[in-house]
Amino acid sequence: MSSELPVHQENPDHREGMDSTIDSGVFQRLVHDSARKQTSGKASYVDDMPEPYGLLHIYVAMSEVAHADLVRLDLAAVRKAAGVASVLAAADVPGDNDFGHAHCGDDRVFAEGKVEFAGQALFCVAADSIESAHDAAKLAVVDYAERPAVITIDDAMRAGSFLGEPLRLTKGNADRALAAAPHRLQGSITTGAQEHFYLEPQVSMAIPGEDGDVHIYCATQDTTAVQHLVARVLGKSANRVTVEVRRMGGGFGGKETAPTQFAAIAALVATKTGRPAKICLDRDADMLMTGKRHEFRFDYDVGFDGQGRLAGGDFKVAARCGYSLDQSIPVLQRGIYHLDNAYFLGDVTITGYPCKTNTCSSGAFRGFGSPQPTVAIERVMDEIALYLGLEPLAVRKANIYDSSDRNVTHYDWKIEDNILPRILEELEASSDYRRRRQAVKDFNGENPWIKKGIALMPLKYGVGFTARFLNQAGALIHVYQDGSVHLNHGGTEMGQGLFVKVAQIVAEELQVDITRIKISSTTTEKVPNTSPTAASTGTDLNGAAAQIAARTIKGRLMDFAAEHYNVSKEYINFHGGLVTIGNRDITFEELVGEAYLGLVSLSATGFYKNPSIKVDPVTLKGRPYHYNAYGGAVVEVAIDTLTGESKVLRIDILHDAGRSLNPAIDMGQLEGGFLQGIGWLTCEELYWDDAGRLKTHAPSTYKIPACSDRPADMRMQLVDWSENHEDVVFRSKAIGEPPFNLAVSTFNAITDAVASVADYRLCPRLDTPATPERILMAVEEIRDRLSGLER
């Protein structure tokens, strides 16, 4: 049993009126189930596992060029090198040389005939040590016949290089709305890519079994996909492959599809050699090979009235997808859906272009195509405000979804639980926004070199897998004869606290203390056909499945107790580790023991599905999400107009997690997601040279936020009066991704500070990430533009 779980409980208001007495159920602040194991070094990750006898270490050799025909790949010398056990390339793959996920793409395990990005896997070497493998790989003879490479979005748009037909969503008549609007603006903005920078690099260890089966320990958010796709690569059936993960050292979407390739390579080596095999990428290889957040470019043409209220717009949305599809189409689709952020857009035409470039394949990353359009529409709000000379918050309020007829999204989903107006009202007051905005303006009027900016933004975030079939989950619960509980489900733990939340749900249902519940590794052997732990749905889906399983067992125990004690079920009550049966109390374990003797099954699966999501694949209209989470943030920044440096001074957040299952865990997601968003918008810059080689592939050159980037003044609150209006487990709401998008307020504040240089008369031309260089250039450009106006 896990003996180290509960610490630091408090009973938030949500527990009022609940009759349980356990202090480790839902709505309570429990620390992460692995916290003490993590701080004492006892929490094990795949690379920490004891190495089995005869383990082979795998090095993957990468393409050095972005686009070429692979004229020659001579591995003879590599095979003969000391310590080498196996060298594998495309021709050695017995099944499909493709790890592309369902409804996604064509991702080669090893390059075949051509290379399409610098960093693409050419072959692997398995040897007694990683050093031997690395040294041997250098002996390969690789000849490329280089072809012209498409690197940037602009290159792709010019060349018509796409991975599919453009996506198009229309509502009403955008042309007519634009023509009739009293005011009209055009502009464009680019949002930069982002590396996940999970601290644990991609890692898989494959253990060969009997009959050519293989068991893979893999840091993955999607055990089922790894299982099925590795089976396809091996040319075996899925029941021959088992995939297991206890925990990951961070995922953020980066371990949704990418791990499949490395699991496949480890499994290939293990099944070919009959020896266990491990692949653990070093940081540079990880950053060079695996996907990132899509860079987007938005071109907009919007019409609006004198209050800044949008009448409609035409939006062109281009996403840099890299060399293959991966999840680019669903990402681009979300990029189209989230163009509203929290605003009623009016009549729109939105066209999405999936740009094919000779760069690594962009993929899932926290927010999944929603942060980029949030930046774009927030820019539109600021540009309208600056154009009309209005307060930016007034323009945002004029456009926000409300309870009038402006409550239907551009994809025709009616918003029925809009709590944004109240959140904004509360946040505006609690952050003292109005006074502070005046103080910022006063400061800027007095100070020539340092300028401040402040911004308040709302957020609406759609939760759920738009791919309908993914909205299902399974769980497996065993209760043993001593009353201890084994909990398993299809969700994976990457640090987000899913396991403790699901355990809280089971503790609540069974009314046993959480220390009685053993949290266990995710494995395809226990719960099959799982969905990726992604789209913020981990708790919504797996928590619900575990709840169903717990209720099944509890129901059987009730039935047994009613019969055994001859007491009507309405007089049986589980509470605080006890079961009251009529006028007697017995312990949970006593009842379990009796039930076992009474031939009762104490093991149950739980299956949950949510069929509510459905969209038309052509028009993109429908209901792409289960529900919305809401929030708001106020950020105040300062910039140095001589150097372009920026610093966040204060952050106020009010965020809606419904009835938070664990406020301590949810606050961790809120703060962590927000800071990760700040990184994306400010200091994190991925830089490809003209030849398409990524030059920022290590933390020495790629800078995620450090401790001092978290402002000392950060005031975060969860909305304490919200509950999910959909039937989500205990009326909670997802928290994984939405806070990331709230960080866009940081960029808005920087925009505000730059605009102050031109006395708030012009809109800055500033893309993300707002590095010192981009800010300085935007300051100089806006100053030049202003003096041009004044001449």
Binding site: S40, L199, P772
Partner: protein, 458 residues
């Protein structure tokens, strides 16, 4: 086979801090604890020291160490992969500062990256760890550990040979000079914060290493009326304390230099000898007029620092020669001194450019001026043309404009992932303007962080 110990490999270059361990060293009668990056440390450099990992700081079967307990209870872990590194940084922090403020916490943790938490909960743990009781076997056995370290520090030079690779660790300067005469091609290893990467990133085999860390003379410091003579082996963290009282900006640039883990190992001599165009100490030292003392065998030669840098990767150092000392002017010979580091992230980043200014005015005219930049040329380089444009002229906006215009004569910077040539040129000019704004009696804030920075931490 045993499981891997907890220090984790996150980057192999001393930037992420997941591998942070703590080294215990004798300091007088006490043991001094400092955090370092394990991934780029050569094992043999640990001779005579105590090595602590997350497994060592609490006793088995007991409650956890306060650093471990605080981090757990304050929700300072999410994925947990970085956690052992944070624990060790917190352990070192606790042993050096009982109640650190936020700025000290930021500095202690700048070399530990966390991608999950956003750091707030970790800062809470750092603030509150002294309030936690817990198992502290290391702290409780201090005198025993000190005695043990005294026993193994016998002053005997260490020589190791393995598979044809040689490792020498002389203990005095004469031995060092002698070894280098015998092995003129040897690699001089000080903190290893760059050389370690030759192994982990470039996969190089290093034939002969001569470790400088045990050479007593190289760690000496002498403060004179007009200069500080700093042994080449003085670490950047030690240097920070030495120079900050004289030059607050030097202290601030060093605060932002690498991370505490790096500064605990990296030496001033190493940063200079490396010759990197983006090493931050050199432009500051050139602007101050620092001089090197180079030694080969028994011969010593002084050299103005700016003459040490010949071209990218080429320094004015003969085979068998080593930097013994760096003399940093203080007192009347130095005028108004300011230094500015520009990077994408304030803490633990490599400079896009770094500028240093040393100005002496007489009756409102520029009597003397030394300006140097890193990140603007193939070597750290003085801005002679800018200096000429300023010399003898009144310290006013017109002169500064002339100085900014002269910048193109001194520098033709490059485009790279840290910044474009255009940005470097504009920002370098603007730094001169900033220097002027800070030295002409203006009252407006000019900085975001550091000395006089707007964003003071609470």
């Amino acid at each position: 086979m045993s499981a891997e110990p907890a220090p984790r490999r996150g980057c192999g270059e001393g930037d992420c801090g997941a591998c942070t361990v703590v080294i215990g060293e004798l300091a007088g009668d006490d043991v001094r604890y400092k955090s370092v990056n394990a991934c780029i440390q050569f094992l043999a450099t640990l001779d005579g020291k105590q090595l602590l990992t997350v497994e060592d700081i609490s006793a088995a079967g007991e409650t956890l160490h306060p650093a471990q307990e605080a981090l757990a209870v304050k929700n300072g872990t999410q994925c947990g992969f970085c956690t052992p590194g944070f624990v060790m940084s917190l352990f070192a922090l606790k042993n050096n500062l009982e109640t650190p403020d936020r700025a000290q916490i930021d500095d202690a943790l700048a070399g530990n990256l966390c991608r999950c938490t956003g750091y707030g909960t970790i800062v809470d743990a750092a603030r509150s760890q002294h309030e936690f009781a817990g198992s502290m076997p290391v702290e409780e056995r201090q005198s025993e550990i000190a005695a043990g370290l005294r026993d193994i520090n016998d002053g005997v030079p260490l020589t190791l040979e393995a598979g044809g690779q040689l490792f020498h660790a002389p203990t005095d300067s004469d031995q060092l000079a002698e070894i280098l005469l015998r092995h003129p091609d040897a690699i001089l290893l000080a903190g290893g914060t760059d050389i370690g990467l030759w192994v982990t990133k470039l996969h190089r085999r290093l034939e002969t290493l001569v470790y400088l860390g045990n050479v007593a003379e190289l760690t000496s410091v002498r403060v004179h009326r007009d200069r500080i003579d700093v042994g080449a082996g003085v670490t950047l963290e030690e240097l920070r304390a030495l120079v900050a009282p004289h030059y607050p900006d030097f202290g601030e640039v060093l605060r932002r230099f690498g991370s505490l883990q790096i500064r605990n190992l990296a030496t001033l001599g190493g940063n200079v000898a490396n010759g990197s165009p983006i090493g931050d100490s050199s432009p500051l030292l050139i602007a101050l007029g620092a001089r090197l003392t180079l030694r080969r065998s028994g011969r010593r030669r002084p050299l103005p620092l700016e003459e040490f840098f010949i071209d990218y990767g080429v320094q004015n150092r003969e085979p068998g020669e080593f930097i013994e000392m760096i003399s940093i002017p203080i007192g009347d010979s130095v005028g108004l001194f300011r230094a500015y580091k520009l990077s994408k992230r304030f803490d633990q980043d490599i400079s896009t450019l770094c500028g240093a200014f040393n100005l002496t005015l007489e009756k409102g005219l520029v009597k003397a001026v030394r300006i140097a930049f890193g990140g603007m040329a193939a070597v750290p380089k003085r801005a002679h043309a800018v200096e000429s444009a300023l010399l003898g002229r009144p310290w006013n906006a017109d002169s500064v404009r002339a100085g900014m215009a002269a910048m193109t004569e001194d520098y033709a910077p490059i485009d790279d992932m840290r910044g474009s040539a255009l940005y470097r040129s504009k920002a370098a000019g603007n730094l001169l303007l900033k220097f002027y704004n800070e030295t002409n009696g203006g009252k407006y804030p000019t900085r975001l962080v550091g000395n006089g920075g707007l964003a003071r931490v609470i």
